[in-house]
């Protein structure tokens, strides 16, 4: 029975841009895999066709059938995790093991506040600014 595991340090799910995301991954497989790697990426979900941006990949050398490794990524400046009406942008870390395309994903939030930005919640209908004509 195969199983894959991902966990961040201190089980954190919220991060700020530029922060380091580190943690541990592990797998238990029936036989030795050919390759294993962990990816940091974002993807969109909503009404539009899904887009994906793989930001960083970390490959593991000589993976064993039962293995535990650590990973570390530096988060970029953007994009932030957000949700509007049509689009959600979601950050995630994914472990992929071959052969078989086995994968395990852990979603995280990346934003200056550490929380997903909800579009439209703030910054609406400010009074008119000074206008000199």
């Amino acid at each position: 029975m195969s199983s894959l595991r991902i966990a961040t340090q201190l089980q954190r799910k919220s991060f700020r841009p530029g922060e380091e995301v580190s943690g541990a991954i592990g797998w238990t497989l029936d036989k030795q895999p050919k390759s294993a790697e962990v990816r940091l990426f974002w993807y969109t979900a909503g009404k539009g066709t899904r887009d994906v941006g793989v930001v960083a990949t970390q490959k593991f050398e000589a993976p064993q059938a039962n293995d535990e490794r650590s990973f570390s990524f530096r988060l970029p400046e953007s994009p932030y995790s957000f949700s509007g009406t049509l689009i959600s942008l979601i950050w995630a870390i994914e472990l992929v093991v071959e052969p078989g395309g086995l994968s395990e994903r852990l979603e995280i939030t990346v934003s200056p506040t550490g929380e997903e930005i909800v579009l439209g919640k703030d910054a609406l209908h400010r009074p008119a600014n000074n206008a000199a004509a």
Binding site: L10, R16, P17, G46, T49, P79, Y80, L119, N129
Partner: protein
């Protein structure tokens, strides 16, 4: 977990559009092929005379025959005798086609070259010995074979392109493309080169050549001459009737009698009867006048050696030449642009597209561009409309003349309908662009095209045009989502506005013309974002309510940047 994406592009134009486009190019191709066929036939015919043997001959008679009823009234009337394979023959042909001219001098020179009783050589057709000529036709004519080639190339390429889908880079990553307009530039350059060559050729013939002759004639002798005949000669053509001044006069030079019929150095005919009638009235038959004679060649004479009003029309072809030059310059610039630039999307997740903002540029006023300049639209539309309708009108006038004279051609009439409709559409577009020229236009200058959340952007606006018609001006800052998805064979893009921040709302007309204001980007504004199918766009909208004209609503994209990175925290 990479996204499996198949490159999708907008659907190719439908069959009706391609057919219309093909018709346009078929016209080019047809004209070119027809001209090429006719020219080739003539060249081949002339080429056959190269195999005709040279035979001595004797000129029996040689004179200038005047046949006023003909378009070219002066004919070289010659009769010569020759021997071939033991038999005697007579011929009256000087060249393959009859030697005729509207210019008396041209025929007179032939008479002088082949005077009576002179010994000459002729070329005899070995297959038909009764057929002979005194001189072969010029082979410079073969250069005309080059003329239809651009038409054929443009027509053929155009038809091929209509039915050939444009290439896209299926094998390249979908988010990076290299734009190379060089092929397109070459085709356009070929098109504009026709304008340039035609314009220059017409200018050379109508202006340069007469001017040079006027200059050369400054040392010619002014001699008295007698007007033998004078009339306004009509020339009936497909486009109607044109007229020319036809004055035949006699003069003496070096003790010898000469005749000539050149009025000025500008040859040809044109519309306008009255001006020419006035000229003819001044030179009545039997009256004396003064003419200018070339002392080196007394057969060459002219009545008027100054610039005549008709010569100014020779400047009109320069428009074509200018269009050709402008077009070629544009093509060269576009070609250089294609060599040096490749549009590459900034790594997905931030920005992509033509307006990439400087990442930390917060200074310097920038004028934002909203749309294509209305002037360029008008100029472009005018050029195309003039070109298209200019060509189509030739055929339309011919058809109308045909119907007027009871020789209507149904097939041709029906065939021309789509071309006329396109021409009318182009005229409509020009009118629309002209009206658009007077709509108020917005110029927006901002202190920065990009800003961090919470930052302030100062901007100035100016309305140009019919500002007095503006009843209300609103400027607001808007953030919206755009999500693109497949809908059957097409793609569809949904938009949802999540933030609208009013900035300016003016209802007094005297205040709308110009002004300045400040926009504060919300502190918690999400940054601008662009990936293949999903976008977050922030824009300044300028909306002007215009009475009796279309309202103005221009969008100027601004970029909200992500917050600069905070110092990394140890986890």
């Amino acid at each position: 977990m990479l996204n499996l994406r198949f490159v999708t592009m907008s659907r190719p134009s439908g069959i009706p559009g391609r057919l219309f486009g093909s018709l346009f190019f078929v016209f080019f191709l047809g004209m070119g092929v027809l001209f090429l066929v006719l020219t080739t036939k003539e060249v081949v015919k002339r080429g056959e005379t190269l195999r005709w043997p040279i035979v001595p001959c004797t000129i029996v008679s040689s004179s200038v025959a005047a046949e006023k009823s003909s378009e070219n009234p002066f004919r070289f009337a010659v009769n010569y005798q020759y021997q071939f394979r033991g038999r005697s023959y007579h011929s009256q042909r000087a060249e393959l086609s009859e030697t005729r001219s509207g210019n008396y001098r041209d025929v007179l020179r032939m008479v002088e070259r082949y005077p009576e009783k002179a010994q000459a050589i002729c070329y005899v057709n070995p297959a038909h010995p009764e057929e002979a000529i005194l001189q072969r036709s010029s082979f410079w004519f073969a250069l005309l074979l080059v003329v239809p080639i651009p038409f054929i190339v443009i027509g053929g390429l155009g038809i091929w392109a209509m039915w050939q889908p444009p290439t896209s880079s299926l094998t390249q990553p979908a988010f990076s493309r290299t734009v190379s307009p060089r092929t397109r530039s070459f085709s356009l350059a070929l098109f504009f080169s026709i304008f340039l060559v035609a314009g220059l050729a017409a200018f050379a013939f109508l202006v340069i050549r007469p001017m040079m002759k006027i200059q050369q004639s400054r040392h010619w002798l002014q001699l008295p001459c007698t007007i033998l005949s004078s009339e306004v000669r009509p020339h009936h053509g497909d486009n109607g009737t044109t007229y020319s001044v036809d004055i035949f006069y006699q003069y003496f030079a070096n003790g010898k009698e000469y005749k000539a019929n050149r009025y000025s150095f500008l040859t040809g005919s044109s519309s306008g009867y009255d001006g020419k009638a006035a000229v003819v009235a001044r030179y009545r038959p039997g009256t004396k006048a003064l003419c200018f004679v070339n002392p080196a060649d007394p057969t060459e004479a002219v009545l008027v050696r100054r610039v005549t009003p008709e010569m100014w029309f020779g400047l009109l072809p320069t428009i074509f030449a200018v269009v050709g030059v402008c077009g070629l310059v544009y093509c060269v610039r576009q070609s250089r642009l294609g060599k040096n630039s490749s549009i590459t999307a900034i790594p997905a997740g931030f920005m992509a597209g033509a307006q990439s903002p400087p990442t930390s540029d917060l200074g310097g006023p920038i004028e934002l561009k909203a749309r294509i300049s209305p002037r360029m639209k008008l100029v472009g539309g005018l050029i195309v409309a003039l070109f298209w309708n200019g060509i189509v009108s030739v055929f339309v006038v011919h058809l109308i003349n045909g119907w007027k004279h009871g020789r209507g051609e149904w097939f041709s009439t029906i065939f021309m309908i789509p071309f006329v409709l396109i021409g009318l559409g182009l005229v409509g577009f020009v009118v629309y662009s002209l009206v658009g020229l007077f709509s108020p236009r917005v110029k927006l200058t901002v202190s920065s095209a990009s800003a961090l959340p919470g930052a302030r952007i100062q901007f100035n606006w100016t309305l140009e045009g019919k500002v007095q018609r503006v009843s209300r001006l609103q400027i607001y800052f808007e953030g919206r989502e755009e999500a693109t998805y497949k809908r059957g064979t097409d793609t569809s893009t949904d938009k949802a506005v999540f933030a609208t921040i009013p900035i300016v709302d003016i209802q007094e007309n005297f205040r709308v013309g110009s002004g300045n204001a400040e926009l504060q980007v919300p502190a918690c504004a999400i940054h601008s974002f662009s990936s293949e199918h999903n976008k977050i766009i922030w824009s300044l909208f300028v909306k002007a309510d215009v009475t009796h004209m279309p309202d103005v609503k221009d969008e100027f994209e601004l970029f909200v940047l992500p917050q600069p990175l905070a110092p990394p925290m140890k986890v």
